[in-house]
Amino acid sequence: MSDALLQVRNLRKSFGGLTAVDGVSLEVRRGEVVGLLGDNGAGKSTLIKCVSGVYQPDDGEIVFDGATVTFSTPMDARRHGIETIYQDLALANNLDVGANIFLGREIKKRWLGGLVHTLDDKGMERESRLTLESLQIRIPTLAEPIETLSGGQRQAVAIARAVYWEAKLMIMDEPTNNLGVPEQHKVLELIRTLRDRGVPVVLITHVLPDAFAVTDRVVVMHRGRKVAEKVTAETNTEELVQYMVGARDDDVAA
């Protein structure tokens, strides 16, 4: 409990008459990977968007790094160290790797006593290379626009960006979607690398093999409620599927 980096308590969010998240509590500890499972419409994304500042919860509390927080924008959440990698990755495909990792926070050189600032592209490329190497990511050329990279490589760039900016918590939304099998393995490998570096990961997925491959715990949601929370090693596919489709319900919420 004391080790919890993120605590979500009784979070509630509705849109009009529809309650998307109904009193969910959740905890993420340092150095663990938590799977957030559930069918489409189970409320996973809404829950995560509340945590990452996209939505403001109607009720409930988010405690991050020891303090109660409210995020009014995604930038707010990022400033606190919560990085969310959505499926579209939020990369500018026409820019190179370094430009993407430093987008919005470019390294600049100062001239004429700070009167003129220019981009330090070499510096950004160097830092990017170091970060990628530390994650054991190999990308053949850093100088080409990333639209020439594969889906997995782009995923890796998005992860490297979060790592460079010292994310304390990484939320990943279906990161293996639209990837070929070898690349799926590499992304899962990256998630393990992140965990070993002490960055906990919340992995949103409905691919059970992925969840079993990398998570330490899983939380299952169904129709806006948390219906199960299991240590991954102590559960199995059949059990989780039953929770996901609503056939079983621990009603551990609240």
Binding site: L103, T118, L142, A156
Partner: protein, 405 residues
């Protein structure tokens, strides 16, 4: 990339020991070696190279053609590549290029600015009015000229701000907004000029718009003169070459500035980012709205400079001067390889595009081709330019930006 024994990153966090190597070289989505060194057939690389450099090549071939064809068609009495003709081309290029420089930023940011032609007109009228008033109320000519520049830029800047503000804050498509403001600005320019032309400007003004850095008179009695027009007449005057007029120098200065801005600064980087992915830009914390406003202000400002320079050149403000230049300037930008989808393009490309149009126009005139053929040729070049860009994307296997996730 060589894999050195993994060095710790400059960031926090320790390396996991003995981690499996996550190699992502064997990419799936991207065709192997389309871009990277060492990949692809040599033919593919040649085609790619040609498609990237075609505008330069086209310009070179065209110049070569006119160098040969112009003397042939005139029996050797007229040459294409002369000092005088090169200066004529440079002077002709000034307004189109200035409008195009601002437009380059707008298109890269995935917008479009249809108002620049009339903004140029408005700036011409405003600068003429301010200049005349300042001079008539006793200001020395250089001060009056500066007042004219300030008025032209201020008027243009205001229109640019309005364009950007409506586009960024009220989320109206750029095409609609700038179409609307172009009509508004047109009306204002006519109203302020009272009958489309502002006259009565100080006589000495022509020197600012037409004098040059260097004068060169070849042959006996000639010489090289800097910064002042030699007081000669007759045969000597006919042999005098005017090299680098001030408006050309001013345009070169704006060119250098925009080049620096687009390719070396954060402003330029963010312009590319916004055009490449609005979503990524917003989520990266780029102040997108403010940036879009600045881009349209920049576009209006280069049009303002163009209007101001035309006032100096003709010693009059004109409410019709910019109208015909809008489409040429957009054509120049497109020929220069700026993507209509945003996110790609260079300043030097726009320069090449403007040069191609100017050389084409001048060359065809010298060949005595009916002037209307220029339009047909320029139009064809515009379409071919975009086709070449698209085929390049096809070769590279790159998704069109609209289709890219």
């Amino acid at each position: 990339m060589t894999s050195e024994p993994s060095r710790p990153a400059a960031t926090s966090g320790s390396l996991g020991e003995g981690k499996q190597d996550v190699t992502m070289r064997g990419s799936i989505a991207a065709p192997a070696g389309a871009h990277g060194p060492g990949g692809g057939s040599s033919l593919q690389r040649l085609v790619l190279f040609l498609s990237r450099m075609w505008a330069w090549l086209f310009l070179a071939v065209m110049v070569l053609f006119f160098v040969v064809a112009v003397p042939l068609s005139t029996g050797g009495s007229v040459n294409f590549l002369t000092i005088r003709n090169s200066q004529n081309i440079l002077v002709a290029i000034v307004p189109v290029l200035l409008l195009g420089l601002g437009q380059t930023f707008v298109l890269i940011a995935a917008g479009i600015d249809l108002s620049v032609g009339w903004v140029m007109s408005l700036a011409s009228v405003l600068s003429a009015l301010a200049l005349r008033d300042a001079f008539n109320s006793g200001a020395p000519l250089p001060v009056a000229v500066l007042a004219g520049l300030a008025a032209g830029l201020a008027g243009a800047g205001l229109v640019g701000f309005l364009n950007g503000w409506i586009i960024a804050k009220l989320k109206v498509p750029a095409f609609i907004v700038t179409l609307g403001t172009s009509f508004i600005v047109r009306g204002v320019a006519y109203l302020m000029s009272e009958n489309s032309t502002v006259i009565g400007l100080p006589a000495g003004l022509g020197a600012y718009g037409n004098d040059a850095l260097i004068y060169y008179i070849s042959g006996p009695g000639g010489g090289v003169y800097f910064l002042h027009r030699p007081d000669v007449g007759g045969e000597l005057l006919r042999r005098m070459e005017i090299i680098l007029p001030y408006p050309v120098l001013a345009t070169a200065f704006v060119l250098a500035l925009t080049m620096f801005l687009l390719h070396k600064t954060q402003f330029g980087r963010h312009t590319y980012a916004i055009g490449g992915s609005m979503d990524a830009s917003v989520r990266s914390g780029i102040p997108v709205d403010r940036h879009v406003i600045k881009v349209y202000m920049l576009s209006a400002a280069t049009a303002g400079v163009a209007g101001f320079l035309s006032t100096l050149r003709f010693t009059a403000g004109s409410a019709v001067i910019g109208d015909s230049l809008l489409l040429s300037s957009i054509a120049a930008v497109i020929i220069g390889g700026v993507s209509m989808f945003g996110g790609a393009g260079t300043v030097i490309g726009t320069v090449i595009g403007a040069l191609i149009i100017a050389v084409l126009t001048t060359g065809l005139v010298m060949l005595n081709v009916d002037a209307f053929w220029q339009f047909i040729v320029v139009g064809t070049v515009v379409i071919v330019a975009v086709l070449i860009d698209q085929s390049r994307d096809l070769i590279v296997g790159r998704q069109r930006r609209g289709a890219a996730q």
